[in-house]
Amino acid sequence: MSHSVELIDVEQAFGDVKAVHHFSAHIAGGEFFSILGPSGCGKTTLLRLIAGFTEPTKGRVLIGDKDMAGIPADRRPTAMIFQSLALFPLMPVWENIAFGLEARGVPKAQRRKRAEELLELIALPGYGDRMVHELSGGQRQRVAIARALAVQPQVLLLDEPLSALDLKLRQHMRAELRALQKRTGVTFIYITHDQSEALAMSDRVAVMSAGVLQQIATPQELYANPATPFTARFVGETNAIVGTVRGIEGGLATLTTAEGRFTGRAGPGLTDGARATIFIRPEAMALSRIALPNSLNAITTSLEYEGASAMLCARSEHGQELLAAVPNRQLAEAPGQGEQIWLSFAPEEALILAEEGQPA
């Protein structure tokens, strides 16, 4: 079992700017854990804290239950895969992979052997003597992974390593990374701003915004039950309508908005009279020609075909933009542009979250 990583109330300030506020998380050994957030949210700072490139201003970082305070990057059981990969261009592939072993004083013959084994693992046998610039993007990616795995780290830290690849390759590498993680059993901490990447690969995802942890949950939980308005907006497409809570009963709340009154599930800590937002996923929206309970009146603006389904965009008379997913089999009956329609949803499929307590 590889080491767990525990972050206890970690805070990182650069001068007056706080990049990370009170971040606590327990990452189990062998877990694939993603940290998801928009660029500049502090997720890379967090990763560098774990790697030991910086020390936290406050709080503690534990790896395998051992406090990492004062232990520099070269003596932590972590290996990092950089966004730019940071392969060494002046060394052949095998020396890149074996660099960590070279630093540990492993004899050359043994280093070479280990490098060949790892090339085997990443499905690039016989590539050892090539130079990095002779490899394609995906191959470089895999060499970077092999280089990190060569030192047999307990924790692998990945800083948006797929962002430079094209879509097809990215999807392929996702599956490969996931398989590699399962095979090696190493704890993966994966940083990304791409929510589909985080949802597809991770055991659990931490969502971060402006240095603040929003939620830690499994991908399914994150999508179905976002804990904060930020998470609801950031993870997946959603319709968000702001209003005021007027009555909570049996787990359901009623919200009055400029668009009318809506009922949905009450989020955690929702109070009567609070400012709140109701979130409805596009696939929860049903189209109708007549007014139903819990429905919005709107005029269609466009229909974007996306392959598996189509996304209907509409605008209410108050200017609220709305999205509804139309399954392919209903495409024939889909309304045309500029048509008056009603979009309705079941209360159980909508979630009302308080806007207060939302950190700036």
């Binding site: 990057a73 730019s84 940071a86 660099f99």
Partner: protein, 293 residues
């Protein structure tokens, strides 16, 4: 050439070409050919020139290697210039690395300013300042005596003075090429190496120095050539025991009145410098074109 005529038209393009040709032929080729011609003839009285004694000979060259003192000074100049080069590199490399990768923007800028400001002053005056600092009753000895590090004043001038003066005079020629090349190294590579457990020494040996080798070669070539051709520092900071080859050349021209011998000596120095450039580039496996950049 065609590219230039295409870009600037035949009139302006041709004008540029003529300027370059005048420069290369008039300022570079012709003087060196004249020197070569001088060096291969004996020194003659004006009325013997064109007479039967005016024949080509290599006597001026054999004289250099036949004269024990001149030969020793020549070899010492090579050795001394190499020492200046190594000393300057040893001082500059950590400084360049610090400025390019460790220091904050403000720190690096402040350091650069501190290093550049003295260069607003003429080289002779700067060397004269060292002359004062290093003199027997000068401030350096006074300071060391007052701290008790030495109990007798030290004669700094001579070999040490020449070395110190030259290292100081040429530090920027070494610093800029190395600084520029280290700046282009991606910082993530240093972090990656560190993350993989490499020691500071290994990071430099395996990552930074191979990346910066073109800059290091350029700086070394510059420094060696400037040191070998230097006149002011050895003339002011040297002693009779630390004569530099350039001083001998100067003496042949302006004191000995033997331009032919002086020309031969100067050409030997030129060939030496070119040889050092080629060997250095070979060692570092760098092209001349990379240095020119």
């Amino acid at each position: 050439m065609n590219e230039m005529i295409k870009r600037f038209g035949p009139g302006l393009g041709g004008f540029f070409l003529i300027l370059v040709a005048v420069w290369i032929i008039g300022m570079v080729l012709a003087p060196n050919l004249m020197m070569l011609n001088f060096s291969l003839k004996p020194m003659l009285f004006p009325n013997d020139i064109g007479g039967p004694k005016d024949v080509y000979t290599v006597d001026n060259y054999t004289a250099l290697f036949g004269d024990r003192v001149h030969r020793a000074i020549f070899l010492k100049t090579i050795w001394g210039s190499a020492l200046v080069m190594v000393a300057t590199l040893a001082i500059t490399y950590p400084l360049a690395f610090w400025m390019a990768k460790v220091a904050s923007m403000r720190g690096a800028r402040a350091m650069l300013t501190i290093l550049i400001i003295p260069f607003w002053i003429n080289e002779v005056l700067r060397t004269l300042a060292w002359f004062i600092i290093l003199s027997f009753n000068g401030p350096l000895n006074a300071f060391l005596l007052s701290t008790g590090l030495i109990d007798q004043p030290v004669r700094w001038q001579g070999d040490f003075g020449v070395l110190a003066g030259m290292v100081y005079a040429y530090i920027l020629f070494m610093l800029f090429p190395i600084y520029n090349s280290i700046s282009t190294l991606e910082t993530a590579q240093l972090e990656a190496a560190k993350n993989l457990g490499a020691s500071t020494w290994r990071i430099h040996w395996r990552i930074v120095i191979p990346h910066a080798k073109a800059g290091i070669a350029t700086g070394c070539v510059f420094t060696f050539m400037l040191a070998a051709g230097s006149y002011v520092a050895p003339a002011l900071l040297g002693s009779p025991g630390s004569r530099w080859f350039t001083e001998i050349i100067y003496n042949w021209f302006f004191e000995g009145g033997n331009w032919n011998r002086g020309a031969a000596y100067a050409l030997v120095l030129l060939v030496l410098c070119m040889a050092v450039v080629m060997v250095t580039l070979k060692i570092f496996r760098v092209n001349l074109a990379d240095v020119a950049k």
